[in-house]
């Protein structure tokens, strides 16, 4: 006998629940997460299209369309975000041309290979367009112009992460050797990661004080007593970079050390018996083994590095001028001066650049690294 209408409905629901139990159980968590992740994004998006106005008893948000973005990219705040441009010379155009040619070559090569997807074409188009625009920006502002917070952030991100990865890998390789006191070194190298960034910034501010810092006598002896590092854009950026490197190298170190120590011992021992040198072992056994972890740790660090604020804020207050201002500090300063719309627009620019950079890294480097794993 077929089931009655109500009973049939209940059975169908029970069946459906049975089939989708996993999804149903996870739905509340997904909805909560989405609410917390999406709500601030949506509010920020709305804020980036508005201007704060004081009104009786409080404030109002006046819709201004794309005005905040227009100011940042083409208007009065262009110097702040993109920088002050210099006219491109022959060398500059050559660099831009070479980079564009490289991107074009990579794009065409992708199109000619089998298994081309629409998502892949769109993704590469966006990545290559952004990378080309950033190349022009770098050349136009670093040559004779003056970089804005976007280029400064890219400097912190790519220079910082590269140095930190190199140092972290080096220290990890050293600490993986069978040397006396290596556990002590592991703890010591890990310590900076546990210090709050503001604390690190203040510590470096004191250390780098040429007149009253602990190295004041040393600077004076070296004839640098009257040198003001914070008054020169590149030395100021360098000090920020040193502080950031001091803080984040341990993160690279600890993760890479774990990866190195978990690589297959038998392969290494076999290679040694066969007479392989240290470099050969690293190139052919260690690196392929740790590459997926290395790619992941660099990706995490890239995401984090785009958000740098504490060090430039405390060490240099973004100066001299705006020379050390990162995008996050730029957004913070705009927020502090009640330019909520401008601040949100800077935040969205950061989100876009960081997303493109990290997705590109994930697709172009991360996947290859995973493929390299034995």
């Amino acid at each position: 006998m077929p089931p009655s209408g109500a009973r049939g409905g209940r059975d169908r629901l029970a069946e459906w629940l049975d089939r989708n139990a996993g999804k149903v159980f996870i739905l509340p968590a997904v909805l909560t997460l989405l609410a917390f992740a999406l709500f601030p994004l949506l509010v920020s998006a709305w804020l980036s299209l508005t201007r704060l106005r004081l009104a009786a008893g409080g404030f109002s948000l006046e819709y201004v369309g794309w005005l905040n973005f227009k100011k940042l990219f083409f208007g009065s705040q262009q110097y702040h975000l993109l920088g002050t441009f210099d006219r491109l010379g022959a060398t500059d155009w050559s660099i831009v041309g070479a980079v564009l040619a490289l991107f074009l070559y990579l794009f065409v090569r992708y199109l000619l290979r089998p298994g081309v997807s629409v998502v892949g074409v769109i993704g590469r188009s966006i990545a290559f367009t952004v990378a080309s625009a950033l190349t022009v920006l770098l050349v136009a502002t670093l040559g004779g112009g003056f970089p804005g917070s976007l280029v400064v952030t890219l400097f912190y991100v790519f220079a910082g992460v590269s140095i930190q990865f190199g140092l972290g890998l080096g220290l990890a390789l050293l600490c993986s050797q069978n040397i006396t006191g290596r556990n002590l070194f592991r703890i010591v190298f890990f310590l900076p990661l546990m210090v709050t960034p503001v604390g690190i910034a203040y510590m470096f501010r004191m250390l780098a004080d040429m007149h009253k810092g602990p190295f004041a006598h040393l600077w004076a002896a070296l004839g640098l007593g009257e040198f003001a590092w914070a008054s020169d854009p590149w030395t100021a950026r360098l000090v920020v970079l040193i502080g950031d490197t001091w803080q984040w190298t341990p993160f690279m170190f600890i993760v890479l050390l774990a990866a190195i120590e978990s690589q297959p011992r038998d392969q290494m021992e076999a290679a040694r018996i066969d007479g392989a040198g240290g470099w050969q072992i690293f190139r052919d056994i260690t690196w392929p083994s740790i590459a997926p972890v290395a790619a992941t740790v660099v990706l995490i660090r890239l995401i984090e590095a785009f958000k740098i604020i504490d060090l430039p804020n405390v060490l240099t207050n973004g100066g001299p001028g705006i020379a050390t201002e990162s995008l996050t500090l730029h957004a913070f300063i705009a927020w502090r001066t009640q330019d909520l719309g401008g601040s949100a627009a800077v935040g969205y620019t950061l989100l876009f650049v960081a997303t493109v950079a990290c997705l590109s890294f994930f697709n172009f480097a991360g996947r290859k690294a995973r493929g390299a794993a034995p």
Partner: protein, 496 residues
């Protein structure tokens, strides 16, 4: 209990009683009147300004029962923190000590309590003793009193009188004299430590209180026909006065002083330059009244009785607003000039003042007002203005009139006359420059002007681009806030 002990105890009780009576009668508030009331007052980190508030809060608590919590934030955050707290309806801050020029942004939306009635009924405040400029201008907006002045602010030039005497230099009358003296004295050891010192120390740090110095210099070039002329905008067109030969000359002076300053001058806050000056490392500086009193503190100063104070120097050429060119001073162009020099003392900032959140509880408002009144009353104020670390400078007539007050604090009679004379000359000048008080003035100065100056000093842009950046930025703000509204507000603040 023996007789001696009884006498000592009685005397102690009488003394404490007398002290309490004095405090209570001075503040005109009964003991315990504000029992259980807690007042959160926000000001900047200091230590200046916060120090006297924190030091006197326990005495006020003992006398009235009100507990005063002083909440401090960095200077660059103060305007925004107050606005955020009050505009969002959080109202965690009951009152604040801040720049009176910002009051316009707090009064118009209704965040600030009118104090007119309270002031009128407050005999202990002795408000007739407050100099008319602060009483009638700084404290008021649209005719109503919203602030209580705790500090009198004019920017002045301080110089090392001993070093100038040794070098045979007179005190600078013009900014050219200032530069010439700074150039001549730069590299001289002025504190005997064997290290060459600096010709000029001016705070030029971004996001701090540095941007007033350029306005102090520009005043003498831009304003020559009296206070109502103003230095920020053309009063007829609201066009910014930041892109002309007068402002260019001021920027030249400002940047040239950097050559005779400490190597990290562009990162020095006012506290840093004050420390350098009082430790004998600078021949000249531009600052508010603080250096006068900091210099007499023997514990921290190496320049006790070695400091001369003058009204801001001026210029022999002033801006012709029609052509945008500098023209020589004569009776027609500079009616207030002395010896052919147009001087325009700058009431920079306007003096730290107390304002009360209109949305605070009534008892809290009363307690906050009572505290500000107590701080401003001569019994407290006349002592605080003579102490360097308070950051409070003279603003009461009794403080200018009583030289003994300053001599008692450690100033020589001559130095006191010099110091008070410079402030009084500034205060009484018919060509005094008023600070900007139009809506959103913080954005005009602390954002646009401050950024352009920082970029100029860092070598990111040249003088022409800096002037254009300020002009464009101010025009943009005028448009965002309504040119006509801003124009009307600007004219009103100049008494036009």
């Amino acid at each position: 209990m023996n007789t001696k002990k009884l006498c000592r105890t009685t005397a102690s009780v009488l003394l404490v009683g007398a002290a309490t009576c004095a405090l209570v009668s001075g503040g005109a508030h009964a003991a315990g009147e504000f029992d259980g009331v807690e007042v959160n007052i926000m000001t900047f980190t200091g230590p200046q300004i916060a120090e006297p508030l924190q030091r006197r809060a326990p005495d006020f608590n003992a006398a009235t029962g009100a507990k005063i919590n002083i909440v401090t934030v960095p200077f660059s955050d103060l305007y925004g923190k107050l606005l955020t707290d009050w505009a969002s309806g959080t109202n965690a801050i009951d009152a604040a000590v801040f720049a009176p020029q910002w009051a316009v942004d707090y009064v118009v939306p209704g965040f600030l309590e009118s104090l007119s009635q309270r002031v009128a009924a407050d005999e202990a405040l002795q408000q007739d003793d407050i100099a008319p400029f602060f009483r009638e201008f700084s404290q008021k907006y649209a005719g109503e009193t919203y602030m209580l002045t705790l500090d009198g602010d004019f920017q002045l030039v301080y110089y090392r009188s001993d070093v100038f005497d040794d070098a045979g230099l007179p005190a600078p009358e013009t900014w050219e004299d200032y530069i010439a003296a700074a150039a001549k004295l730069h590299g001289t050891d002025m504190n005997g430590d064997g290290t060459p010192d600096y010709g000029s120390c001016i705070s030029k740090k971004r996001g701090a209180q540095a941007y007033w110095a350029i306005l102090s210099i520009a005043g003498g070039f831009l304003q020559s026909r009296g206070t109502s002329q103003g230095i920020f905008f053309d009063t007829d067109t609201m066009a910014p006065l930041a892109n002309n030969e007068g402002f260019a000359a001021a920027l030249d002076v400002y940047t040239e002083t950097t050559a005779y300053g400490p190597p990290d001058e562009i990162n020095l806050d006012v506290g840093d330059t004050r420390g350098l000056f009082t430790s004998g490392r600078c021949a000249l500086t531009i600052d508010w009244g603080d250096i006068g009193t900091l210099a007499i503190d023997p514990a921290n100063s190496q320049v006790v009785d070695k400091v001369g104070t003058i009204m801001l120097p001026g210029s022999r050429n002033v801006l012709d607003r029609a052509s945008g060119k500098l023209v020589p001073c004569d009776a027609g162009t500079c009616p207030h000039a002395v010896n052919g020099v147009n001087r325009a003392p700058f009431a920079a900032f306007g003096g730290w003042s107390g304002g009360i959140n209109a949305n605070a509880d009534d008892r809290v408002k009363d307690a906050a007002y009572a505290f500000f009144s107590y701080m401003s009353q001569p019994a407290q104020s006349n002592e605080d203005v003579t102490i360097g670390r308070t950051g409070f400078n003279p603003y009461r007539l009794s403080q200018f009139g009583d030289i003994d007050l300053w001599v008692k604090a450690g100033m020589s009679r001559a130095a006191a006359q010099d110091y008070l004379g410079a402030i009084q000359d500034s205060l009484n000048s018919p060509n005094m420059v008023l600070d900007l008080r139009i809506p959103k003035n913080q954005a005009y100065q602390q954002v646009v002007l401050d950024n352009a100056l920082a970029r100029l000093l860092a070598g990111e842009i040249d003088r022409t681009k800096a002037m254009r950046a300020i002009e464009d930025g101010w025009n943009e703000l005028n448009e965002e806030n309504g040119v006509d509204e801003q124009h009307a507000a600007y004219r009103a603040t100049l008494g036009r």
